[in-house]
Each structure stands twice: as structure tokens, then as C-alpha cells.
């Protein structure tokens, strides 16, 4: 099933990219001032989500340091996503988030909702130009639409070069407005997941289900501010420091995620829809180095992020491009990421304890570390075109943050590793 879904996505993306690439031949010299980058990515988690993403970007040179950037992204996701509910030593039944239909989860298996699928299209555009000697400015926007989600945003940046262009200071601002309209509406905080067999007929079930829903849709506004400093250290070493601030206000609960309420023996009594705060302020410090070392190119970066959900993270990323002969290169890549849990993360709730103000059992905001190991192989073709292939293994390891699992929960897996393979083909022309 997974393979078939992946094959369908691959075929659709391949067809789309052929159509896009085909236009180059017809365009001829009219597009000489344009540089195109295209890529197809396939992402496949073992027994969970499969995704395919195709990107085409175009950069037009209008002379006098003026550039227009255009982008088109199409992605499709399908497969099974963890609901947040805990595994049990017996079969569990779940109602789909829309309220229509149900599915069973085998004993000892972490509940996954396997009806998850979506297709997204994103368009973006930006214009950049110099404003005065040593000043550059850019402005742009994006529009992203998927079945139950719409995001619209504007961004701008201003950069100033100093010290014979060895130092650049920049300021970026971004604002986006997102609207989420999940199928079946938005569940009220801590609304119980109802099961159809507990009701006498469809009408009484539907009436009860409707009372668990608050509204059809909700919104989120995000303001991003980014301060950057780029410094040339010497002929072979370039460094960048960024401080970024991201303030989000609005609906940040995942409308599809549940939290299990268990008794003293760890048996699930009820599954409730999660509830997250409607404000989040994130800060990050990012430090990147580009180094030329004996003909090879090293890209090493570190990011420290912290926010008012008490989630902090460290990310180290290294890519080392090694030339092989005249036109080929190989680039080993490694990334390590470690995060602490958000303060309201709980893998389950105890029936005996009062409901907290906020709760989420989504492992993605729990204590976790991940690593990515991969390699990219590329070759320069005639006329400056470039073809590359990248393959990587991504593994997430959620961890227990010191919580004792009562009764039957001690016998089931609560923190399951997720392994994904990513394969990417890129062509620049």
C-alpha cells in the first residue's frame, strides 16, 4: 500500500517535472537572463507518512542589480500519522477526526490515523534590487493552499554592506496569516473522541459529535523578525550570525491530535482532543560557517532555539563538498537535532489528576533527538547546468522525560523511533 502510494506520487511528480523541463527547449534565448532550479523530493517514513515534493524556481536578471524570483511548490502527502493516543495491550477503536468512519488499532501498536492525505500548492515571488551604493532591499510574498489550510504572507528585507563589503548587516521582516479549516470542524479543547457504537443511532451520535465542535475554522498570525550579520573572515572563510524572533498568535493546536486519559492501571478511559496555547514566541541564534579547505567546501552551522513553551533545541549541521575530478563532486551531510519537551507535553493524562490548562501528546513537541545522515552527488554539465542526486536517512528518537508509565503502559511502546528515507533529484538550468 505504502509502495503503491509512493509510486503514484513519484509518477505524478515525474510527469509534472517533465512538463516543466520541457518548456526550456521552447523558450530558447528569450530566457537567457533567467536561471531555473528544479527539484523533486521523495520522503518515506517506515509504516507512516509518504510525501513527494516538486519545486521550480526562476530567477530573472533585469540588469542594474535587479532580480525577480518566482517559485512554485507542489507537494502531496499520504499515509499514517501518530494521533497522540497511547498503545494498549488490546484492540482500540478510534473515530476519524472528521467524525465519519472509524478504524481499529492492534494490541501493542501506537495508534496511527491512516487516512491522512493532502496536496499543497505554493506560489511565491520576490523582487530584489540595490537601493543606493552598499544598500540592498527586497520584498515578496507567498500563497500556499492545501485542502484544509491556507497561508498568505508578505516579507521584506534591507541589507547594508560595510568595510569594503566584508561586513553585511541585514534586517528582515515577515508576516503571515494562516487559516485552518479541518474536515468536521475544530474540536473544542479537551473534547472527547466519541465512538459511534456508544450511541443508539446515527442521529444521536451526530448530535453528540456536533457538541464537541467549536467552529468551522480558525486563524493564526505570525510575525518574524530576523537580524543578520555576515562577515568575511579571510579569503577562505565566510561567517554568518542570525538572531530571529517569531511571534505567533492564534490557533496552534493540532486539530487531529488526541491525548489518552488512563486509570491507575494504565488503561485508557477516554481520548480527548489536545489543547495548546494560542501564543508562542520563539527566539533563535544561528551561526553558519563556509570554509574553503584545500579545494573542498565545508558548510557548518549551529542553531540554538528557545521559546515560551519552554521548548529549547540545539541543531548542528555539516555539509562537506569534495570535488571528484573536473566536474563531479560528492557531499557527505550530517545533521543532529536535540529538543526538550514543551512544558505542556504529556504522553498521557492520569484520570485521577485534574485537567491541565494545556496539553499535547504530540511527540514532535516532546523530548526528542534526531539525526540525518546522507550524501549528495552532483555534476556540472554544459552551459553551467547542474544535475545532482541526494539521499539521506532521517531518524527521530523520542525520549521519556522522566514519566513513570503505570500498569499496562509499562508493557507497551510509548516512545517509538521513526525512520525516514529521503531521495532528491535536482536540475539547474
Amino acid at each position: 500500500m505504502q509502495l503503491k502510494q509512493l509510486a503514484n506520487i513519484s509518477a505524478a511528480l515525474a510527469a509534472a517535472s517533465c512538463a516543466l523541463l520541457g518548456q526550456q527547449a521552447q523558450a530558447g534565448t528569450v530566457l537567457d537572463d533567467w536561471q531555473f532550479n528544479s527539484a523533486i523530493l521523495l520522503y518515506n517514513e517506515t509504516d507512516r507518512v509518504s510525501a513527494g515534493e516538486a519545486i521550480l524556481t526562476a530567477r530573472g536578471d533585469f540588469g542594474d542589480d535587479k532580480f525577480l524570483n518566482l517559485g512554485l511548490v507542489v507537494d502531496a502527502l499520504t499515509g499514517a500519522s501518530a494521533t497522540g493516543a497511547v498503545a494498549q495491550p488490546y484492540v482500540q477503536s478510534f473515530t476519524r477526526p472528521s467524525g465519519r468512519g472509524s478504524y481499529d488499532v492492534a494490541p501493542g501498536v501506537i495508534p496511527l490515523d491512516d487516512t491522512f492525505h493532502d496536496t499543497r500548492v505554493q506560489l511565491d515571488a520576490s523582487w530584489e534590487q540595490s537601493l543606493a551604493p552598499n544598500w540592498r532591499v527586497s520584498g515578496g510574498g507567498h500563497l500556499s493552499k492545501e485542502y484544509d489550510y491556507l497561508s498568505m504572507g508578505l516579507n521584506g528585507s534591507l541589507a547594508r554592506d560595510f568595510n569594503q563589503k566584508n561586513t553585511t548587516v541585514s534586517l528582515g521582516l515577515g508576516y503571515s496569516h494562516d487559516t485552518i479549516s479541518p474536515e468536521g470542524g475544530i474540536a473544542a479543547p479537551f473534547a472527547p473522541m466519541l465512538l459511534r457504537p456508544d450511541f443508539a443511532d446515527d442521529n444521536s451520535y451526530q448530535a453528540a459529535f456536533d457538541t464537541t465542535r467549536d467552529r468551522a475554522d480558525d486563524t493564526k498570525d505570525t510575525l518574524d523578525v530576523l537580524f543578520g550579520l555576515t562577515q568575511v573572515i579571510n579569503r577562505d572563510w565566510l561567517m554568518q550570525f542570525n538572531y530571529s524572533l517569531s511571534m505567533a498568535d492564534g490557533y496552534m493546536t493540532d486539530p487531529f491530535k488526541l491525548v489518552s486519559v488512563v486509570n491507575a492501571n494504565g488503561e485508557v478511559q477516554q481520548n480527548l482532543y489536545e489543547n495548546r496555547p494560542d501564543q508562542r514566541t520563539k527566539h533563535s541564534l544561528y551561526w553558519q560557517n563556509k570554509l574553503h579547505v584545500r579545494g573542498s567546501y565545508l558548510d557548518a552551522s549551529y542553531r540554538y532555539m528557545w521559546d515560551d513553551w519552554e521548548l529549547t533545541s540545539h541543531t548542528a549541521d555539516v555539509k562537506w563538498r569534495l570535488p571528484m575530478g573536473d566536474s563531479w563532486y560528492v557531499e557527505p551531510q550530517f545533521r543532529y537535532y536535540q529538543q526538550s519537551a514543551a512544558e505542556f507535553y504529556q504522553p498521557f493524562m492520569l484520570q485521577a489528576e485534574p485537567l491541565p490548562q494545556y496539553v499535547s501528546a504530540d511527540y514532535r513537541i516532546g523530548k526528542m533527538n534526531t539525526y540525518t545522515v546522507g550524501a549528495k552527488f552532483g555534476t556540472k554539465l554544459a552551459q553551467g547546468n547542474e544535475l545532482s542526486f541526494r539521499i539521506a536517512l532521517y531518524q527521530q528518537t523520542p525520549e521519556n522525560d522522566g514519566i513513570t508509565a503505570p500498569g499496562v503502559l509499562a508493557e507497551v511502546e510509548l516512545y517509538e523511533k521513526v525512520t525516514a528515507v529521503m531521495a532528491q533529484l535536482s536540475y539547474s538550468f
Binding site: N37, A39, L41, Y43, I55, T57, D75, L77, S81, F116, D118, R120, Q122, E146, Y149, S151, N155, F162, N163, Q164, K165, G172, G174, S176, D178, T222, D224, L229, T230, Q231, V232, N234, R235, D236, L238, N242, S244, S246, K282, S284, Q288, K290, H292, Y297, D299, S301, R303, Y304, L311, S313, T315, Y337, Q339, R364, T370, K376, R390, Y394, M422, S426
Partner: protein
């Protein structure tokens, strides 16, 4: 914890101010041969970075740093 954050922010600010004030850093315009190469650009593989940012945004609790953290999808 708060003190630790303020301290680290302070140390980094001092480092940054030292870097920008130090006149021995940098190169003359005619020494930019290596820095001018595509491989030395900070965002030398923009599509790779964009795809990675999208994956990690939807799979981890952090985002941004290199560029805006915004997102723009209801990723699962």
C-alpha cells in the same frame, strides 16, 4: 535558566561586536576569487535548504534560524 540565556546572548553580542570592529578581518576586493564561487555562497543549495526546512518544520518542534520560521503549511 534565564540567566544562562542572558549570559550566552551577552557573550555572543560581545563576540559579534569584536568581529565587526576588528579591521584585520576581511579581504581586499581582488582577493575574492574563492569567496565569489557558488560553492561559497551562504545559501549555495537553496532548494535543498528549502526542502529540508519544510521537512524539519513539520517533524520537529523548532523552525527557522537560517531564514524565517513562519511555515505556511498545516504539516503533519
Amino acid at each position: 535558566m534565564k540567566l544562562k540565556k542572558i549570559l550566552s546572548a551577552g557573550v555572543i553580542s560581545v563576540l559579534l561586536s569584536q568581529l565587526s570592529a576588528c579591521s584585520s578581518l576581511g579581504v581586499k576586493p581582488w582577493e575574492r576569487d574563492v569567496l565569489a564561487k557558488d560553492e561559497m555562497a551562504l545559501n549555495s543549495a537553496p532548494l535543498d535548504n528549502r526542502l529540508d526546512d519544510h521537512i524539519y518544520f513539520s517533524k520537529e518542534g523548532s523552525s527557522g534560524g537560517r531564514s524565517f520560521a513562519g511555515g505556511g503549511c498545516g504539516c503533519n
